[in-house]
Amino acid sequence: MKATNLNHHIMAAIDIGSYSIKMKIADVDSNGGILPLETPRKFINLGKDTFITGKINNEHLEEVCNILKNFKKLISEYKTDKYMIVATSALREAVNCDYILDYIFQKTGLKIDVISESEERFFTYGSIMDNLKDFHRLKQEGVLITDVGSGGVEITLFSGGDLIFTQYVRMGALRLKEVLSTLERRTLNFPNLIGEYIESEIDTIKVQLLQSPINNYLVIGSEINVMHDILASGKKEYNRSFMAKEAFYKIFHKVIGKSQQQIAGEYMLNSESVETLVPAMLMYEKFLSFTQTDRIFTPAVSLCDGLVRYMSDTKFGLRNKAFSEKDIIISVRKLGEKYSYDSKHAEQVEKVALLLFDNSKRLHGYSDKERLFLQIAAIAHDIGKYINIKAHNILSHNIILNSDILGLSKNDLHIIANIIRYHANNMPGMDDFNYKALDYDSRIMVSKLAAFLKLADALDRSHRQKLSDVKIVLSEQNFTIKAETNRDSLLEEWEFENKSNLFNEVYGIKPNLIIKRK
């Protein structure tokens, strides 16, 4: 008899990084347990191609295909079809990215998602709780998280339980090394040069980070593991979940200034893992100096861990323990604060827009993801006003497109920016380049969600939150919004007339507004 068990699934995640291609195959159970089965990794320096020449070269492309073919073979041994393949900065930034994706698909039959920095962060952080049970306490006390990848470093700050700050800076360990490599021959103190470069890159961030004391520092990234390897060598028992500040500096001072070969030889490490050690350590050191802590938390999490966690949470309908949509929403509110938004208006529009959405599922057929888009658009729809009232919808659109929002892909941002763009008196249409650039499904989504945003915004035209007790009555032919007020709501009623046109066009129903005087 075959042992089949619905509570167990095999899932696989592949991360095509700047420096290596990694895979994780895991046995996942319905309680959220994840047992890693295989974690192969092949070093391939795609970042070098992209960061220097701007594109991935052909030899590397063949190698990528071979590696993926082998990984596919390993996945097939477990007879599973649940896998995700993502690529990060090296592919994302390559000018020939589309051709590469197509070539890989032709050769291997595998489809790759090129994910944004924010998504990468969202996935990766999603598995922190698997390795660090105390994470909520750290969020409360204040914790700085840096994820030093090959292409960039992601900096995130939590305090009082809230996400305070999050940003991606394009100074990954490999990128730093490659970008500055031409200078390496011209200086006797290369680490010092990298240090100065890092400092100049994070000048502005530093100001924002240092607003309140940071009591914890958490590091994600492969180089911290190399440091652990060095510290663990010769020890029988070694705890990899954190690194004392003292121990960090011990290695730091020993290694800084040594060549790659020296380090590899001295600590019996392979030269691949040593290559980016020095730039990464310099970054850790810089950020560590911002904090008031005597140890660095180092939960061994990776993008692959996060992807598996994400797939497992999705499969079994579990809520992610470390991060939730709440964190995303909070980060959008922080964005609003940054641009001095009218928070009361934003909250009112958000509330009503979601009410409209939740009561008309039959009309739109969307689920949580689209609801989140609408919510974000509602919160941020007016942030462009910070720059100018005139054409503020377009300014809001541009700000959103250039913001890092945790967990959102570039495409997600385009959709949200478009929803925001059409909250004013304009209508989506193929004359607009930004709208035309979207694919069909995204265009429909923009129109359907913008229709809600328009109505919700209209209902607080005066920015005074006059309406209360908003209710929706949806029947076969009618979509009626009922509300109560004890104030004059003429402005809202007038704006509602003006802005119901998109809803009418998209859903084929003309919405009614009935306002009862209290």
Binding site: N5, Y78, N225
Partner: protein, 682 residues
Amino acid sequence: MKKSFNGNKFFINRELSWLEFNKRVLEEAQDNSNPLLERLKFLSIVSSNLDEFFMVRVGSLNDQINAGFDKPDPSGMTPDEQVQSIYRTVASMIRDQYNCLSYSLLPALKNEGINIIDSDVLTPIQLNTLNEYFVNEIYPVLTTMAVDESRPFPLIANKSLNLAVLLQGSEKEDQLFATVQVPSVLPRFIEVSSDINGVNYILMEEIIRMNISMLFKGHKILAVNACRITRNADLSLNEDEADDLLLEIEKSLKMRKWGAAVRLEVEAHSDEKIVSILKDALELDPQSVFHIKGPIDITFLLKMAAQRSRPDLKDQLFPSIYPPAFKKYEDVFSAIRTKDILVHHPYEDFQSVIDFIYHAADDPDVLAIKQTLYRISSNSPIIKGLLRAVENGKQVTVLFEIKARFDEENNIQWAKKLEEAGCHVTYGLIGLKTHCKITLVVRRETDGIMRYVHMSTGNYNETTSKLYTDIGLFTSNRHIGSDATALFNQLTGYSDQPDWYMLNTAPFGLRKKITELIKNEIKLSTIDSPGRIIIKINSLVDSEIIKLLYKASCSGVKIDLIVRGICSLRPGINGVSENIRVISIVDRYLEHSRIFYFSNGGRKDIFLSSADLMERNLNRRVELLFPVIDEDLKNRLESILDIYLKDNVKARELKADGQYVWVNRRSKKPIHSQTYFYENPI
């Protein structure tokens, strides 16, 4: 003061140490407390060992000399000095070997009614029968090779037995030279008849010699002498440039037959002209020519010993038992899941390993089987099990080491067969021989994926498993399962060097681990509680490790080494190695298990390994060092080591002068380790 232990006097040359080992094998043949046919077997092994030694070691030293390499080894000997010394030592060893044969074994065989007879004692009837046999069976497969102006010196294949013939030419002073190969397709010895004296055998070359004139009609035969050539067979491959490794190896195999000659064996009192013709044609020094007082190439004695159904002249049979741990459970998997299982071969049946493969092949929940293969038998049931697994739809991955010396041809055939069946066959990493022995079975169970791992000190070879002592471990330990998976991903090239939980692999990690373990013992050693190291291996050559062991000895660590073969470490030198004792056990079974014991402050770390402590194992092979975690199994291994250390029947102790002497029994109760393990298997 820090000691460097770099001096020549601290190391024993590895070749001479190997010859010492072969001398111990010879001692087993000389030992008349061993059954007669077993003595015959040991005598035969002395010869086959020497054959390989000349082909590989002497071959490689000659290559070094020819390349102008004259750096001394750690013991201070240049390649040339080593070769000189080898020839001298071998000459006396062969003298002892043939003395043993002529004066001890052949007379003893005669007493038992087994006679190897000369042609001059044949009766007319016997002669007649043999002549008929010659005409009908032998003559058709013989090829004579003559030398004259138009024909070059005949190519004499490696290790083939030949008759060299000197003929009278047409002119009075003209002499011709020819060779005839004794056909390897025919048996080396023929049963002539049985009479009251017992059974009489005659050797094939004698029958041909009797009829040699038939081959050279019209010529007068001046002399006929048996001879044999050993050639350099050290394969050197340029793997980096080889597109198809399989093809490259097949090509170089053909070359092996014709490598430069390193040794010429001729029968004693051979015609001087014949010897000098051969010697010149093969470009050999006089010292490479060995005059053999008896039949050349006595490896046939092994066959003869095996053929006689005379249990009274053989060792008492030691039938193996089936590992009891498996008997209590319905299937192998639940047995292994319950508890790690240690199997000590040949006392415990290797069939348990074969059964593991077959169960995996037939079990519907097994998804994949991965295995390394190094030396397999010619009709391997392991391979059949893997083929069955493929038929049953399992993913089968085999890491086939086709570079296993002298087994390449066999391995290539099997590799092709597996590949055709749909098995994923790979040939390992460039520049590294895959020497680790490991099997991984991936199985889907109700509580998720389980991985079952078998690791061993010996090959997946049911034939040698009956003759070699080896230890295997079955485990379902998750960390080992994960490491095993990672190891296979590395060997198939799917992944670069992974991080290990529990396994240590060579190259890279194994040397580091052993170094750490020895250093740890040094660190923990105090006068009150000295450190303790016991290592049982086949060869100890690596100078770095040896120096570290010297250092440990100087720090008071008590070290016992059970080294069956080569040992370059010199024990018992004051101020260097007085805390090190080295013993060697040579007995009916070839000691092959490799066990590493470190007391680690009473924690007792025990490991098993596929590796010897030689540079090649630690640097140029993929080897495995795996921990034994289960307390019961650790205790069992500890007591196994204890018995080896107490052996006073078959153990010899290495002295500071490089000589091996019998362990002094001092009226203690005799302890014969191999017999003990048979009588107390678990």
